[in-house]
């Protein structure tokens, strides 16, 4: 118990949550920085989706599409979709690092537990900003009306939601650390019902009552509706408030579950 002060390294300072998040994010994005080609591919995917799906949708012009162009309706859905794809895979890189040992090494650092998840989720969200910009710019000449301020707010809401999904994915990776396939089984089993029941790809207004009820219980539905309102160029729609609320709630639940999972991960 003598000379305890020597144990504290002189240059280390107590990290704030933000600097912890920045540090984790910087490490994670190193994989993109050192291998930028992966980003090019991730850009193509939503474009292909948009190009192959949007023309079909104009043929299914139902109640949900009334009054707006197909693109204006569909594009926010694609942005939400790529967010879900990206952030729900947050845990897959983590699983690899749990296996090799890097996870334990990082757990032994003073980094805040929440920062571990937020930093990783933000890394998955980083290409999203570029992807969204590219999609929007490509759609512009085809009659998509551009509202940059609204889209920016939309991305913030989506970011908060994405951090929550990322944290849940992180927790799932820890829970499934002993058998890798369970992560993918659960991720795939949950992802598609969530996407379809949010009305993201096809409007649910013409669907059966049980589907409409299920979609009301799906937080993603509110986020999708908020994004649609914002991409349509309004701040006045209450759907935006509900969407922001759903995003904040998802984020809080995700981080809560994630921190618990991390605490239990060394058992």
């Amino acid at each position: 118990m003598t000379a305890v002060s020597t144990a504290a390294p002189p240059t280390a300072r107590p990290g704030s949550l933000l600097s912890d998040i920045a540090a984790v994010w910087t490490r994670e994005t190193m994989t993109i920085v050192r291998d930028p080609f992966s980003l090019v591919f991730s850009l193509l995917q939503p474009l292909v989706f948009l190009a192959l799906f949007a023309p079909l949708l104009s043929g299914v012009a139902g109640a949900g599409l009334a009054g707006g162009s197909t693109l204006q309706w569909f594009l926010p859905g694609v942005v939400v979709m790529i967010t879900m794809f990206g952030t729900s895979m947050t845990g897959s890189n983590l699983q690899f690092e749990i296996m090799t040992g890097a996870f334990e090494r990082i757990l032994a650092t003073p980094l805040s537990r929440a920062a571990l998840m937020v930093g990783r989720a933000l890394k998955e969200l980083t290409p999203l900003v570029v992807q969204a910009a590219v999609i929007v710019l490509v759609a512009w000449p085809f009659g998509f009306r551009l509202y940059p301020a609204h889209i920016a707010l939309g991305l913030v809401v989506l970011g908060v939601f994405g951090v929550g999904i990322g944290a849940l994915s992180y927790a799932l990776a820890i829970a499934a650390r002993k058998s890798e396939w369970i992560f993918w089984a659960v991720q795939q089993t949950l992802l598609f019902p969530l996407l379809i029941l949010s009305g993201m790809m096809l409007p649910l207004e013409n669907g059966p009552a049980w589907m409409q009820l299920a979609s009301r219980l799906n937080p993603l539905t509110y986020v999708v509706e908020a994004e649609r309102a914002l991409f349509a160029g309004t701040f006045a729609d209450p759907a935006i408030l509900y969407g922001a609320l759903a995003a904040a709630l998802t984020c809080a639940v995700g981080l809560g579950v994630g921190v618990r999972a991390i605490r239990g991960s060394t058992l």
Partner: protein
């Protein structure tokens, strides 16, 4: 530097309850090099993980580097370094990037992290590998990188969990060289676990033997061997001379075992200060008229210590991972 009282950890509950650590009282002073030695499953790693705040204790207290592990786990982590059993560096990252980011994780500013990273790369013979992806490194190179990662924030207290497992002799010698230098240059306190007997014997100044979650011995390797095992003299004599041999030898030590060897008999005795006693014993036997066919002296190992404490050999479990 470390002070624990009745530190316990159990896993599971009911019939599945496993008491991994059952009440450890431990004090480590600044600058010590302590090896926790014991068979696999003895509770070494669990103890280490509680001391590094990675695992909350079921009961008991531990103060590490002046901080309570339960009350302020993050502060404990800030003050210590930890090098685990597996690869610390992410396989998909580059060597230099990982080192610098590790510095940032400990709150170092960008410049300090970069400067220390370069220094450690040079110190650990990793300079030529700075731009390599971790997955392309050899096992020994990865281990050196792990050590660099554990040292980036210059901790005053360093924990190493089975640092030499799976290393070839050359890399093991390298590891110990680095540990010796850390102590010489910075006075770092070092606590490590190992199940290699020779290593604990040769390198640690203090060996704590753990078995079934408890400390069963705690001393310098020399004192452990002298007090708990002693030297062993084995004499081979004709079967007819067993009684007089025993009479002579029991004056200096206690008989351990006796078994036939061809027409002769092998008698083993445990003695203190064996090298000094052996000539006298042989002289006495010659004077008594006993014809000694062979005489060997074996100095004890830590395995003999473990054997005399538990009745089991450490080696039996050593490779059963």
């Amino acid at each position: 530097m470390i002070h624990t009282e009745a530190l316990r950890r159990s896993f599971g509950s009911g019939a599945q309850l496993v008491e991994a650590v059952r009440g450890i009282d431990l004090d480590v002073e600044e600058g010590e090099l302590v090896a926790l030695l014991g068979p696999n499953g003895a509770g070494k790693s669990t103890t280490l993980r509680m001391l590094t705040s990675l695992l909350p204790p079921t009961s008991g207290t531990a103060r590490v580097a002046g901080v309570d592990v339960r009350a302020e786990p993050a502060e404990v982590r800030r003050r210590i370094g930890y090098i685990g059993q597996k690869d610390g560096a992410g396989h998909n990252y580059r060597v230099r990037d990982e080192l610098r980011m590790q510095g940032r994780f400990y709150g170092l500013d960008r410049r300090t992290a970069a400067a220390r990273g370069e220094r450690l790369l040079a110190d650990l013979d990793l300079a030529g590998l700075a731009r390599r992806k971790v997955s392309t490194l050899s096992g020994g190179q990865r281990r050196r990188l792990d050590i660099a990662l554990g040292l980036i924030h210059a901790p005053g207290l360093l924990f190493l969990d089975e640092p030499s497992t799976g290393m070839d002799p050359q890399n093991r010698a390298n590891l110990w060289e680095h540990i010796a230098r850390l102590r010489r240059e910075r006075g770092t306190t070092i606590v490590l676990t190992t199940h290699y007997l020779e290593e604990a014997d040769a390198e640690a100044e203090r060996v704590i033997i753990i078995d079934h979650g408890r400390i069963i011995a705690d001393d310098t390797p020399a004192a452990l061997k002298a007090n708990l095992a002693g030297d062993r003299i084995t004499l081979t004599v004709p079967a007819s001379d067993v009684a007089p041999t025993r009479a002579v030898a029991e004056r200096v030590g206690s008989e351990l075992r006796q078994h036939p060897h061809g027409g002769d008999v092998e008698l083993s005795f445990r003695v203190q200060a064996g090298p000094a006693r052996l000539p006298a014993v042989l002289g006495d036997l010659a004077a008594t008229g006993v014809e000694v066919r062979a005489a060997t002296l074996r100095q004890p190992t830590l395995d003999d210590v473990f054997l005399s404490l538990t009745g089991r050999s450490l080696r039996e479990g050593a490779d059963a991972r």
